[in-house]
Subunit: 370 residues, 2 copies
C-alpha cells in the first residue's frame, strides 16, 4: 500500500501539506527523515526518535549491504525488526555512496563495479541488484539506482548521466514488477545544474512512471544560489499528485525554502553529524557548544525548546560533556538537533495548513541572529 | 543526615543486608555503585540508570576538579543538578587518580603535588583541599585522601603509607568539622597485602572515627586469591554498625565473595568499561559480542535478562553495532552490563534477607560455563 494525498496548498506559493500512507503508517508532509545509515540513527534509540517526532527514517543500502549484509537482515525480514523501528524506512539506492565512499568504483551500462571501503571486497551494483537489496532490507520506499555527478560537471557528461539514469530507472521498475515485495519505488531526476537537462530527466523519469519523484544531484558542492535555482526550476515541474523528495538537503533555511517550492520530503546528515561536531541548531541560529560563553551557562541552549536535552541540561553541562568527548554529548546534541529539525517541519506544516507560510518564513528569518 | 541500619545478618557467613539513609534517599545494601567519572556514567542517561536500578553513583574528584572545575559546579550547588541526578553521589578523594593518571605527581606530608594529565597545569591536593572539593561537588559520601600503593609494595613502604593515610584521615575529619556541609565522610583502610598492617591501619582509622569505612588498595595488580585473602581478613574486622565499602572491586564473582564477607558497597569500572570493549555479562558468564557466533543470532544475549537491551535487541544487532563501532553499541552494552551488576546485587540482597545466601552462591556458580 502506498498513497499520497495533498491536504492543503498554499495560495501564494507552491508549498503544500500532504499525507503519505504506507503499510507501516502515515507520514505527514513536508517531512524531514533522520539518516540511519547502519540501521541506527547514530547515538539515539528508536524510542527517542519517536519522542522527537520522527515519522520515517532513512537507511543506506550501500552500508547495510556491506555490513551486516543481506544474509543477516533477511533473517529479521528487514531492517525494521533488526533495529527495533516499526515506522517506515526509506532506503537510497546505494549509488551515491558507491560514488563517494567505495574504492575504485567503475560505472558502466551494467552498473557500478566497486570495492568495499571496509575490506576491499569486489561487488557489482546493478539496478536490479539495488532493487533486490532494498527489498531484502524491507524498505517502505526504495529508490532507483542513479548516477550522481560531482559539481561542477560538463554539459555532455551530465547529459549522458541522466540518460543512463533513465535507462536504469526503467530496469529498476521492471525488476520490482517481477517481485511481490511491499513498499514502493521512487524515480530520481538528475540533470546537474542545467535546466534543460533537468527538464529532460524529469520528463523521461515521469514517462517511466513512479509513485514518487526525487530530485538528486543537489548539495554536491554547488553554490547555494545555484542549488536553490535548480530546485526552484525542478520541484514545481514534478507531478503534483506524487510526493517530491529532495535528496541530501539541507540546512534549516534550505528546508524552509524548498518547502515553499513544493518539496515534500528531505533527508540530510546535517542535524546528526553536526551534533556530533558540537553544532546545535536554535531558533536564533546555529551555535557551537565549545564556545567559552557556555562555560557557566545554567540555561538550556534554547530556552524555548522542549526537547529532552533542553528540558534537563544546561549549556554548561553540554559544553562540559562535549569538551570531555563524553559519549552522552553526542546523544544529547543529536536529540536536540533532531528535535529542532522535526519541530521545524511541524511548524512548516502548521503554517501551510493555516495558509500562513509566508508569515512563518518572515518570522523564521527575523529571529535569526547568525 | 547519615544513618546505617543492618536489616538482616546471615546465620552462616558474615553477609548482611542494610539500609543507608542520606538526605537524597535510602540505599539498600549490599550495593554496586556505577562509576560516573566526569558527571556522567559513560553513554547512559540518569533515567536509564534509575531504570537499571542504580541507587547511588560514584563521581571522581580528580576528574571533576580538573574538568569542568569547581567554579562551574558550585554554580549548580553540586554535581547532582549539573548532571540531572537526584540520588546520592559518592566521591572518591582524588588520590588514586593522581597516583594513576596525573603527570609528575609527588607525595609529601602536605599532600600530592601533581600536573594535570589534560593541560599540564600544576596543582596541590591536600587532605583539606580534597574535602573542600568534595563538598563543592555536593558529595553525599566523601572519602578521605589516602595513599594507595602499586602491587607489589615492600613492607616498610606499606607501613609508612598507612601511617601517612592515618594522619591525612585525621586532617580530613578536622577539615570537615569546620564546615557545615551535608553528607558524610568515610575513612579508608590501607595496609597492602600484609595482615598485620591491615589491622594497624584499621585500628588507627577506627580510632579517628568515621560513619563508614572503606577497604582501599585492592585490585591494584595482585593475584585474585591474595585480594580475597586480604579482604577476608579485613572486612569482618571493620566496625559492624557502619557501612563497609570495598573500593574499585570487582568482577561478578568478587561481588558475590565479598558480600559473603560482609561488604556493603562496591564500585568498579568493569561493567561500563568492558561494555565499551564489547564484553557482556550474562548468567552463564561473560561473552564477547564480536564473536562470529552472534552474527545471525536472533535472540537477546541473555534470554532471561529483562534489561532494555535484551528486551528489544538481538545478539546479531548488538554485534553489528559493535563491529561498526556505532555509538548506540556502547549505550546498549552499558545498559545491559549495569543491569546485570545491579540485578546481581538485588539477588544477593534477596538471598541474604531470606537466609539463603549460600544456596544463591551455589546456584550462581553452577550456572556459569565460562
Amino acid at each position: 500500500m502506498f498513497n499520497f494525498t495533498i491536504k492543503n496548498k498554499s495560495k501564494i506559493s507552491s508549498a503544500r501539506t500532504g499525507v503519505i500512507e504506507t503499510d507501516r503508517g502515515r507520514i505527514h508532509t513536508p517531512i524531514f527523515m533522520p539518516v540511519g545509515t547502519l540501521a541506527t540513527v547514530k547515538s539515539v534509540s528508536p524510542e527517542e526518535l519517536k519522542a522527537a517526532g520522527a515519522q520515517i527514517i532513512l537507511g543506506n543500502t550501500y552500508h547495510l549491504y556491506l555490513r551486516p549484509g543481506c544474509d543477516v537482515i533477511e533473517r529479521f525480514a528487514g531492517v525494521h525488526r533488526f533495529m527495533n523501528w516499526d515506522r517506515p524506512i526509506l532506503t537510497d539506492s546505494g549509488g551515491f555512496q558507491v560514488f563517494s565512499l567505495a574504492k575504485l568504483s567503475r560505472i558502466s551500462e551494467e552498473g557500478y563495479a566497486f570495492q568495499s571501503h571496509i575490506d576491499g571486497s569486489r561487488h557489482l551494483l546493478t539496478p536490479e541488484k539495488s532493487v533486490e537489496i532494498q527489498q531484502c532490507l524491507g524498505s517502505d520506499i526504495s529508490m532507483c539506482l542513479d548516477q550522481c555527478l560531482q559539481y561542477p560537471a560538463e554539459y555532455s557528461e551530465t547529459e549522458s548521466s541522466l540518460e543512463l539514469t533513465a535507462r536504469w530507472a526503467k530496469r529498476c521498475k521492471d525488476a520490482r514488477a517481477e517481485s511481490d515485495a511491499g513498499g514502493t519505488l521512487f524515480g530520481i531526476v538528475q540533470g546537474g545544474m542545467f535546466n534543460d537537462l533537468r527538464r529532460r530527466s524529469l520528463e523521461s523519469t515521469v514517462e517511466i512512471g513512479f509513485n514518487g519523484y526525487a530530485v538528486g544531484g543537489l548539495s554536491v558542492g554547488e553554490p547555494k544560489d545555484e542549488m536553490l535555482a535548480v530546485a526552484d526550476f525542478t520541484i514545481p515541474r514534478l507531478p503534483e499528485h506524487a510526493p517530491r523528495y529532495v535528496m541530501g538537503v539541507g540546512t534549516p533555511e534550505d528546508l524552509v525554502e524548498l518547502s515553499g517550492m513544493g518539496a515534500d520530503m528531505f533527508d540530510c546528515v546535517i542535524p546528526t553529524r553536526n551534533a556530533r561536531n558540537g553544532q546545535l541548531f536554535t531558533r536564533r541560529g546555529a551555535i557551537n557548544i565549545c564556545n567559552a560563553r557556555f562555560k557557566y551557562d545554567m540555561e538550556p541552549v534554547d530556552a524555548q525548546c522542549d526537547c529532552y536535552t533542553c528540558r534537563h541540561y544546561s549549556g554548561a553541562y553540554l559544553r562540559h560533556l562535549y569538551m570531555a568527548r563524553e559519549l552522552l554529548a553526542y546523544r544529547l546534541n543529536t536529540l536536540h538537533n533532531l528535535h529542532y529539525y522535526l519541530d521545524l517541519m511541524q511548524q512548516i506544516r502548521t503554517a501551510i495548513d493555516r495558509d500562513a507560510f509566508e508569515e512563518f518564513k518572515r518570522d523564521f528569518y527575523a529571529l535569526r541572529i547568525t
